[in-house]
Amino acid sequence: MRKTFTLATAAVAVLALPTAAMADGHEQRYSASLSQANDSGASADAELWLDGNELTVSIQGQGFFDGFPHAMHLHGEPGGDNVCGPLNSDEDGFDAKDADGDGIISVVEGADDYGPVSVSLTTEGDTSPDSALAVDRFPDSDTLDYERTFEVSDEVAENLSSLHIVVHGLDLDDSGEIGTVDIPSSLDEELPIEATAPAACGQITASAAGGVDTGAGGTATNGGQDGTGALTAGLLGAGALGGLALRRRRLTGDETA
């Protein structure tokens, strides 16, 4: 057992630090799988890496309207209870959420669940909520192809797992144009709803690399584990064990375990 590791973890145990992951300066990975909203047919995969307050966001989409800027935001109150919520017509709760009954979840209707803009995922410059509709600083392709590193507030950094990524802008009537549906945006009557309505939403969650080292072997040779061990050995190919040893070696000191 490595002494430094033991001490660090003991401190966490005693103080119950809410930001254990960031306290030791390691890059924490997050991801989000965005599924369609308003039956857009669009989806996206996002990966996020947080190192202190430096956040890198990468988004690869498919099926978004090609040729109109897609406003993209981290939505939610940091530490709050926001969810994507029902955003498609076949989901439970859609009708209740569609307050004006127009068959479309507007930004305002959607925000009832997914919350306010916390960060604007612009391609350059300001990332505050004030840039929520900075149309010349958002991706405008069907695949989004977004990647950027920027600073976020402590509040956002400590609460990424309570936020969601929302991508806006879609061709609701399949006209090939944004702005043909004669309903105003819920944000401003000068804007058409197609420019601002949500097209996809995905929950951000954290993940750790690889497996978890939660056994020291004290019961491995005393009979209790024999059944499990024998059956599992049959499942493992020889190749599966090769790569394991290499990675294990660095960690042996950490095996508390």
Binding site: S43, F68, D173, T180, G211, T228, T256
Partner: protein
């Protein structure tokens, strides 16, 4: 409860259950609509006005004039009769005209458009309205009657390799703090040791869990959230199902992780992880 003892025969049965679970993959059938990939297509279901016949340029123009004289701060979703504004004179309702309209707007007004009063309180989430502690709890203890677990829960982050930390105390479990709180939407993760160097540890009997067994997580304010086991899986650590364990879920879920499989004496480590998937049931 004493209904199951960690005898050798039970271990064989538990392992057989695990094998079944592993071959079938996680049961996502109960996971709700958020994952539904099918795209019920748009136009017909939305009952939209036909843009070619209904679009009213005069309305749009009037609206624009009206807005030139202020009244900018209270965008009202129920107030709108207008279509897209068209200050550029290009084809009304076109993508180009929409963009031009946005660019022509007062920047200050545009910058203020996120300030709508949307998320008013935490009690109007439709189906979620009845959930106690919708934001989850800061976990302090985990109680699993079925396998005699009643243990402290500490906070865990990641180590220098990006891997999950583990408790140093073999009688404690640990919550992965970068992820969601237990009881909140998403997959909360709690890990614990299967054994120490000398004997069983907090999650020694985890493989005995069966679908439906209840798991209680107590928060630091005494509030409790309750989950039911959906299934168990066993995977080699170097083929750990990261997405299944950590990816977003439409409801509140819980993962319990410990070690299993063959113990590698050279590496002083088990080769596998055993993962319990559970769903919140008191929401």
């Amino acid at each position: 409860m004493s209904r199951r003892q960690p005898a050798a025969a039970t271990w064989v049965i538990a392992a057989a259950i695990l094998l079944v679970a592993c071959s079938g993959g996680p049961d996502r059938s109960a996971s709700g609509a958020d994952d539904a990939p099918e795209a019920a297509s748009s136009a017909e279901e939305h009952d939209l006005d036909d843009p070619d016949t209904e679009h009213d340029q005069h309305d749009a123009h009037d609206q624009h004039d009206h807005d030139e004289h202020g009244d900018h701060d209270e965008p009202d979703q129920h107030d709108g009769e207008a279509g897209s504004a068209d200050p550029s004179g290009s084809q009304p309702g076109s993508t180009e005209a929409t963009l031009a309209a946005i660019r022509a707007m007062d920047p200050d007004r545009l910058a203020g458009l996120h300030d709508h009063d949307a998320h008013d309180g935490h009690d109007d989430h439709g189906d979620e309205a009845s959930v106690d502690h919708p934001n989850g709890v800061d976990p302090e203890r985990i109680v699993i009657d079925a396998i005699g677990v009643d243990a402290d829960v500490i906070d865990l982050g990641i180590d220098g390799d990006g891997r999950m930390e583990v408790p140093t105390d073999f009688d404690q479990a640990g919550w992965f703090t970068p992820g969601p709180r237990p009881g909140r939407v998403g997959p909360a993760v709690i890990a614990g040791h299967v054994d120490s160097r000398s004997g069983p540890a907090v999650f020694y009997r985890l493989p005995e869990l069966e679908a439906g067994d209840e798991i209680e997580v107590q928060g630091d304010d005494g509030e409790v959230v309750t989950f039911a086991v959906r299934g168990l899986e066993q995977h080699p650590k170097d083929e750990f199902p990261t997405e299944q364990v950590y990816a977003g879920t439409p409801g509140s879920e819980l993962r319990l992780i410990t070690c299993g499989g063959v113990f590698d004496d050279d590496e002083r480590s088990y080769r596998d992880n055993i993962i319990v998937y559970a769903e919140r049931i008191d929401g």
